[in-house]
């Protein structure tokens, strides 16, 4: 087990270097020059542009830029500064991550509780009315694009009923985050419900289930331990990858509900060719993905005793 974890942690190093390099190169291969764009439509003279490039270190060759960037990041945890406004990238990320973490955590909790809950109900009553209703409901959610769902929720709950404020305010409070969390977690909720349902419905017919029932175990134990544990493997896999997606992929939800989080920073940095910010962000997201996927793999062993890591 220990060796397995160590090996996995070591494997993270090349993945980490590879992804940062790729993102770095991709940002630089996008058409458009961040320094040119600083001066907008009306532009600036070549001397000013050259002076600015020099000040920002953008006049050095790409490999040099990448190496200095990685050195500062790894040795000093310094992610550089933004090209456009000279703010340290760590400050930019530090401003964006807390709110996104809140949103992601809330969305994750919603999809976990309601997704698995609905899945269990559907799975245990496969083919009956409740199951069909859940299938229709989840199908509906999956087929509605995120921004449509966002606007519907705003329209109904903020404007028609007046229960919530339409947007998250400048000083966000947790209660304002519920609506965006529902929108953000909605799609995954549907997937989780469907995965749980299918996997449970299948395992209900498995041999070990029949054995457990034949042994005369109480129904709660049969479902809670024998059925649930085995049915959770695909669900846990999905949930693990979803954490990263919730944190990095909330561009639309964040924009609709006026949340100044990571999604907005990503979109901004792409349109402004802020290489340093993007690489910094992606680095953090990659680490999140790598760590969660390791945790998921370790969880497999807990859920299914047949899985062993040497």
């Amino acid at each position: 087990m220990g060796r397995y974890v160590a090996r996995r942690l070591l494997q993270m190093i090349p993945v980490f270097l590879g992804t940062t390099l790729l993102i770095f190169l991709m940002v630089h291969s996008l058409p458009g020059d961040p320094v040119l764009a600083m001066f907008g439509d009306k532009g600036a003279d070549p001397a000013t542009l050259a002076a600015k490039r020099h000040e920002l270190g953008l006049d050095r060759s790409l490999p040099v830029q990448y190496v200095t960037y990685m050195r500062d990041m790894i040795l000093h945890l310094d992610f550089g500064t933004q090209i456009r406004n000279g703010l340290p990238v760590t400050d930019v990320l530090g401003g964006a991550f807390p709110i996104t973490l809140q949103l992601a955590a809330l969305a994750f909790a919603i999809e976990l509780v309601f997704g698995i809950g609905l899945g269990i109900i559907g799975g245990l009553r496969a083919g009956r009315l409740a199951d069909n209703l859940i299938l229709i409901f989840t199908l509906l959610i999956i087929s509605i694009p995120v921004f449509v769902l966002g606007y519907i929720i705003k329209m109904v709950f903020a404007f028609n009923l007046g229960w919530i404020a339409p947007n998250v305010s400048t000083e966000p409070v947790l209660s304002e985050m519920i609506a965006p969390a529902i929108v953000l977690g909605g799609l995954s909720l549907a997937y989780v419900a469907r995965l749980t349902r299918t996997s449970m419905a299948e395992n209900l017919r498995a041999d070990y289930m029949r054995t457990a029932v034949a042994k005369g175990l109480p129904r709660r134990r049969v479902i809670g331990v024998h059925l649930m544990r085995n049915s959770m493997i695909p669900v846990v896999t999905f949930l693990g990858t979803d954490i990263g997606a919730l944190m990095g992929g909330a561009v639309v939800t964040e924009a609709i509900f006026n949340i100044h989080g990571v999604g907005g920073v990503i979109a901004d940095s792409i349109s402004r060719r802020e290489g340093a910010t993007l690489v910094g962000l992606v680095t953090i997201l990659v680490i999140v993905y790598l760590v969660t996927s390791l945790l998921i793999d370790l969880l497999y062993a807990v859920l299914d005793p047949r899985i062993r890591y040497a």
């Binding site: 532009g43 542009l49 401003g95 694009p145």
Partner: protein, 547 residues
């Protein structure tokens, strides 16, 4: 999943880009219904995006930063709605030959840190802003002043040989003189721009990162806080001596992720003043807001520029202006502004935007009239469009696609010239293609006023080698006329000369004027006296907050 995610990215990028590139403006007579007494210390909020750059007087050129800076700094002069000058920090700005200008300051002004505003505060600030080593984006504004080429040579890799502009001389505490390298009759109007603001002594002692983080100015408001990407707060400066003292206690600039969100917050009373609206809300906002809806033109124009360096227009011979005249007359501006653009623009009749000194009705001399038959005739007379095909380059993230296609359809139907939109994925890609002279045929262009004189819309755009002349238009005859208008001794004569040039531009067709911008915005029931300046930004000091 994968498809859904990339769709998210695209929509997100579009939303952000829309918010970033759209701009609002105009002036309104303000809703002055006197319900509820006015609270002179009331604080109101405005929707404002995150300023793109640090708040420096020499480097703030986009509308978000400018709106904040306008509250923090006062310049020597400002201009009124009719284009005439009003003295702010200056007692007088005088000249006899338009070449040497004498500025007298109103005595007793102080910066927000309590230090006095003197002629040295101005001269030092200008030298700093003009200096190449400080790489300020607006440095070229000092190009008229004698000695600029030594302080800021503009060739790549050049080194500056002086630190101070030769033309600036401090006479005494409250007087200084400006010597220009040649006569510029409208130089006084340029002085209203933020780059000519004074800076306190303390500015030069700060580190580069501190300089633009918490500016100390001489304006009606002082800086309070800047919570990046969330809000900026400024409060009234009680020691302010200028004529435009704030009628409110302060301003909170709130950042919104989308214009839609800002509009929803306006309706639910969480923000007081908007500067612009999302396309989605344009059809309904007049109904929603009643007399709190703002719909006013401001001094900006959209054009289709011609890439004169492209082979299409250059080889085998320079294109005949009649061809471009024909293209211009093939565009049905009235219909396109009404339908595709939802009434947010007003058809242009010339090259100079409304509200600018020297604006004249039909400055284009008929060249903007929709007349398909004449258009066909002109194109034929001019030898036809080379290849009988044109394309219009635009950035696909700025909401331009719809009107570009409409313009193309209009041209195609009227003249049977093939016309296609050439969409670049975003503003950066579009800009790079324009700056590196890669545009193949025509491109989307526009101009917001720098100073309210018609010269700004002609000389700065069409003179050979001018900063705004990105299409490499060059005509000796026109250059000579511009030089003559610039050497006029009085502002009046210069304006008149430029009016004559505008009427005559038809014979050169350096670009195709399309329409004037309008500000489409609104404000809440909590405020009154909301008016918009010629650059499209709300005038902060005049807003009154109800109790």
């Amino acid at each position: 999943m994968r498809g859904a995610k990339s769709a998210k990215w695209v929509t997100g990028a579009i939303i952000v880009a829309l918010a970033a590139t759209a701009c609002g403006g105009g002036k309104s007579d303000g809703g002055s219904d006197a319900k509820g007494a006015v609270d002179p210390n009331g604080i109101f909020s405005i929707e404002l995006g995150e300023p793109e750059k640090p708040l420096l007087t020499g480097d703030t050129m986009e509308s978000n930063g400018s709106a904040v800076m306008a509250g923090l700094f006062s310049t020597l002069v400002d201009y009124k709605a009719d284009g005439s000058l009003e003295m702010i920090n200056a007692e007088s700005v005088t000249t006899t030959d338009s070449k040497t200008w004498t500025v007298k300051l109103k005595p007793g002004w102080t910066f927000h840190d309590g230090t006095p505003v003197t002629s040295k505060s101005y001269v030092d600030a200008w030298n700093w802003n003009a200096s190449l080593k400080n790489a300020q984006g607006l440095a070229s504004w000092f190009a008229d002043i004698k000695g600029f080429d030594k302080v800021h040579p503009d060739a790549e890799g050049a080194k500056q040989t002086a630190d101070k502009l030769e033309g600036l001389k401090v006479v005494d505490e409250n007087t200084f003189t400006i010597e220009l390298s040649k006569a510029v009759p409208y130089f006084g109007h340029k002085l209203a721009y933020i780059v000519f603001a004074p800076l306190p002594e303390s500015f030069y002692k700060l580190s580069p990162a501190q300089r633009g983080a918490a500016p100390v100015g001489n304006g009606p408001y002082k800086f309070k806080s800047w919570d990046h990407k969330k809000k900026i707060e400024i409060t009234r400066y009680d020691g302010y001596k200028g004529p435009n003292k704030a009628k409110n206690g302060g301003v909170v600039f709130k950042n919104y992720t989308t214009l839609e969100a800002a509009y929803e917050d306006l309706k639910s009373g969480n923000v007081d003043v908007l500067r612009q609206l999302a396309p989605k809300d344009l059809p309904v906002y007049r109904q929603d807001l009643g007399d709190r809806a703002v719909d006013q033109p401001y001094s900006a124009i959209q054009t289709i520029a011609v890439a004169f360096y492209a082979d299409q227009w250059k080889k085998p011979k320079q294109v005949d202006p009649r061809v471009i005249q024909g293209l211009s007359m093939a565009i049905d501006r009235a219909t396109i502004t009404k339908t595709v653009l939802n009434g947010t623009r007003e058809p242009a009749t010339g090259w100079v935007a409304k509200g600018v000194l020297g604006f004249q009705e039909d400055g284009g001399n008929g060249v903007t009239k929709y007349d398909p038959a004449k258009a066909k005739e002109l194109i034929k007379a001019g030898g036809g469009v080379p290849g009988n095909k044109i394309s219009i380059q635009y950035n696909a993230d700025g909401g331009h696609k719809e009107w570009v296609e409409a313009v193309c359809n209009s041209i195609q139907q009227a003249t049977s010239v093939q016309c296609v939109g050439d969409g670049k994925p975003d503003f950066q890609a579009d800009l790079t293609a324009r700056k590196t002279k890669q545009v193949k045929s025509l491109y989307r262009s526009g101009w917001v006023l720098d100073y309210p004189v018609n010269a700004n819309f002609i000389s700065d755009l069409f003179r050979t080698g001018a900063g705004g002349n990105q299409g490499d238009f060059s005509n000796k005859e026109l250059d000579a006329k511009i030089a003559k208008a610039d050497s006029a001794t009085t502002l009046d004569e210069s304006v008149k000369a430029y009016q004559a040039i505008e009427k005559d531009l038809k014979n050169y067709m350096p670009s195709i004027p399309l329409w004037y911008y309008k500000v489409n915005a609104g404000f809440s029931e909590k405020v009154s006296g909301v008016a918009y300046g010629q650059d499209g930004d709300p005038i902060l000091t005049g807003v009154e907050v109800k109790k």
